[in-house]
């Protein structure tokens, strides 16, 4: 194998750092998508429970760990944010369908981000191998000089 010079080692370290930063961004995006997915799942559960419960009483969190029992006046009229900062009124079942579609979209995005992250990680592994071999060469050269 060709001897790696100090400059090449530094460049590889920069690559590692850069890829690491990119990977962090993608991990953040994955977390955001997962949070969105979980939120939508919870919303679906609440919407379905509201319809099936006779009295439509829900536990409403008001912050600071405090909750109150609240009666939903119109459990079949849901105000739904559909995107582009637009809110529309939909029947409960349609709102559930909409949320299910959103979940599918988020899962598709998660898959894409995860694939990109995998590619980045395999590139980082490659760079890491080259770095390790560079360090070993540098350390062997140092021992020879001694």
């Amino acid at each position: 194998m060709q001897q790696m010079d100090q400059r090449e080692l530094m460049t590889l370290q920069h690559y590692m750092k850069e890829y690491g930063q990119q990977a962090e961004i993608f991990v953040g995006q994955l977390e955001m998508l997962e949070n969105g997915r979980m939120e939508a799942l919870a919303a679906i559960e609440s919407l379905e429970a509201m319809l099936s419960a006779d009295d439509a009483v829900v536990l409403l969190q008001i912050g600071g760990g405090a909750s109150v029992r609240a009666k939903v006046l119109e459990p079949d009229k849901i105000l739904l944010s559909i995107g582009a900062e637009v809110v529309v009124e939909r029947p409960n079942k349609e709102a559930v369908e909409f949320l299910k579609e959103r979940i599918m979209e988020m899962e598709a995005s998660q898959k894409k981000v995860a694939e990109t992250l995998d590619r980045l990680r395999s590139q980082m592994n490659e760079i890491n191998k080259r770095l390790e071999s560079g360090y070993q060469q540098a350390s062997a050269a140092g021992q020879d000089q001694e």
Partner: protein, 344 residues
Amino acid sequence: MFGGLKEKLQAVRDRLGSSIQASAAPQATAAAETVAGTAPKKTISPAGPTFSEKVKVLITDRELIVSEKDISDALSELEMTLLTSDVALPVTDAIIAHVRANLIGKHRKIGQSVDALVVGALKSALLEVLGTGFSLVEFIKAHDRPVKILFTGVNGTGKTTTVAKIGAYLKKQGFSVVIGAGDTYRAGATEQISVHAERIGIKIIQHQEGADPSAVLFDSVQYAVSHKLDVVLADTAGRFHTKSNLMNQLEKIRRVMKPDLVVYVDEAVAGNDAVIRAAEFDRTVGADAIVLTKADMDSRGGAAISIAHTIGKPLMFLGTGQRYEDIIPFEPAKVVDELLGSDS
């Protein structure tokens, strides 16, 4: 890229087509009755052509006329499709109005493809909101050298990588380029851009971390002038328009380097947020063109569809991946063809 929007638009296209097709059958039946001398006495459609007009056109010209009633459900579906894809409300309204104006009252020869009519209306509506695009190569050719391009935007959207990608693109187009490392604020930014510059073989001008970015970019312009280079790409630190000290710094940079083009960079995945931020940035520091990064991750396409129409500035490039060549000039006609398929 924009796979979700593409799928939904194709569904709306089919829906519009079948609505118009379905409306043709009753017209033909009524026409037969009219010929037999049983003409209906009153009109049935308040919007667009009257029923008797439609029948008359059908008999004399062998044509069908599209009315509001024929397509109103499909237009509602189109509206929902655009809004759920994060296309801004004014842009959605503009698209719907354009499609409506294009289709209602339209005479269609019997036997003429409905699909062609629908696709034509959708395409011209999208092209209207997407604008004309922006050719950076033509811009550079039309200006005195060096052409100074300043990149601005919020943090973490891929501005520095975009500068490198555009550098590689311009180098490939035969231009000589220098990069000014004007992001002296973020730790490691100077290192990051210098690694990029080394990889793509472009000269970089940089000072120490924390240095005055105006000075770095002034030196970059001087270097380009003395070496007769074609383009200066000026990277800057990411900033929010609400940070007055950083915005003042950007104002100073503008005064010192006198850019020919100010490019706002944001990520396509931010959807409507990117549109709102771009509008704010344009209002406070100005922007001449937009680059949207991470378009390959964006299945909705809302920002790409909305941004040019909303802030009135053209979309210049889309970032579509990790590699330097993963940047494509934004050409509205190509994007519309990609979304709706080529002409049927």
